[in-house]
Symmetry: C2
Subunit: 282 residues, 2 copies
């Protein structure tokens, strides 16, 4: 028997993974969740038929969504994670002893519960005593907050379905207000290669750079996402991701990482011309 | 009607492209050639069922195989290209007025002829008067040559079939001898993500670093190759790819590139930890 999971990367491109078992499938109020077991990628979670995390390469995504900001501002104490229901982002953040509080706001409780049951590799630190779980809409949660967080991480899906409101000017403006003076906003900023993703990458970046004095995008290479070449946004009121990098401080922490390192941190901001042009265009 | 080209990235992973037409198919003495027309990637060439070039992202491969070395040694005059039958590498090299001679040695004449007929976007500069085409085995061609080239580019397929001998210690040693004092060797160094490619990436790098005093790998992100995250090797007798980078000189040439730029050049050598560990292991 052959059993294949197939994802449409565009209408013209398909990516297929041989699976061993379909171990979970449920419809929440927001989306369809599936968890598969595979030889190449281990266990993986899809939401509405799109790869979210897998055992083989989630380290790439979670290293890059968390360590870049933590190496720029080593005084981060209060963190807000919006989305990220699989727990991987929180897992990386809990490695920092200096972090005092992590509020995680995931609209879909089922993503967290399924991850806790089936994806221990990412969900393993959600019980850390510094973590507060809120099963609410992140858009509402951040409204009216002032200078409460040193770091906000928008660990969202694509801007369709439940993730849509996390790509709006209003939401980014509320994040700005909710951040402290040296606060940093990290957002899932899509990809520049296929047209649909590229349009969203550009729109998100344009909105953020109109709000934050410092707004840049950085790249990472995750084979299981469409095109494999993805972006996070780094925005801050005061800190520059390279000029203010505290490389020595970060390295003195002795955190072992499988993807992130200081040279890569700098290189991640060295985008190809076609991506720079896309992001700089109005 | 739906018509799909499917490539096995591993036994467990497939990548499929919707095609409009299968416009060419031929068996040479060495391999099977196919050219397809598609909406997402334009025309693309496969050899033995593996993607070689396509209209959408060949610029990434060809920028990175050619401009990195040309920005480190701006005195390169004599170049040897082994493989690269589609002509894309030669196309980029002919943009440098300082290059006096390009010997291109492609074992399979049919790849060149098919590219000239169907892939004008890469083959368009093969008639440049500085280009000499040799339809021979590159392994034999380089034997016995001494200090003849300033740059050798091994633009090969994977180390199976006709490309196999281009991944041997003997071949790399002959390249070393064929290079001038400030000579640079660039080689297609596979990928670190899927096991088969990773084994070859490590083996090639280990062989080259035992021969050249300076041997490093650099990354590029090409969505249509397995995992999308690939490596070239940079080896030299004397020049370091970052310490000896002539950024100002290169930028003063005013070459327009869609992928390559100076910041990206530096960043390309900032490899993720898992790749560094793979390449450094014996």
């Amino acid at each position: 028997m052959e059993f294949w999971y197939t994802e449409d990367h565009t209408d013209e491109v398909k990516f297929s993974i041989k699976v061993d078992k379909h171990i979970y499938s449920e419809n929440s109020d927001f989306q369809r969740l599936d968890i598969f077991e595979s030889k190449e990628f281990g266990r993986f979670l899809t939401l509405d038929g799109l790869m979210m995390v897998n055992e083989k390469d989630e380290f790439i995504y979670h290293d890059m969504i968390s360590h870049v900001s933590m190496a720029v501002n080593t005084n981060i104490k209060k963190v807000l994670v919006i989305g990220g229901g699989d727990g991987g982002t929180v897992r990386e953040l809990t490695r920092y002893k200096t972090i005092e509080k992590i509020d995680m706001v995931e609209i879909d409780e089922l993503v967290v519960r399924a991850s806790q049951k089936y994806l221990h590799y990412t969900a393993c630190k959600l019980e850390d005593e510094r973590v507060n779980l809120y099963f609410e809409d992140g858009i509402e949660f951040v409204k009216g907050k002032e200078s409460e967080y040193d770091l906000i991480i928008v660990d969202s899906t694509d801007p369709i379905g439940p993730g849509e409101g996390l790509f709006t000017t209003e939401f980014y403006t509320n994040c700005y207000k909710a951040l402290s003076e040296e606060g940093i906003l990290i957002n899932q900023n899509e990809s520049a290669y296929y047209e649909t993703n590229a349009r969203e990458a550009k729109r998100a970046h344009n909105k953020i750079k109109n709000i934050f004095p410092i707004a840049m995008a950085y790249q990472y290479h995750i084979p299981t996402y469409p095109a494999g070449h993805w972006l996070f946004g780094f925005a801050s009121k005061a800190l520059h991701p390279i000029d203010d990098l505290k490389a020595e401080d970060w390295n003195s922490l002795g955190l072992k990482t499988k993807y992130y390192n200081t040279e890569l941190h700098k290189g991640a901001f060295g985008l190809p011309n076609y991506i720079k042009e896309l992001l700089e265009s109005e």
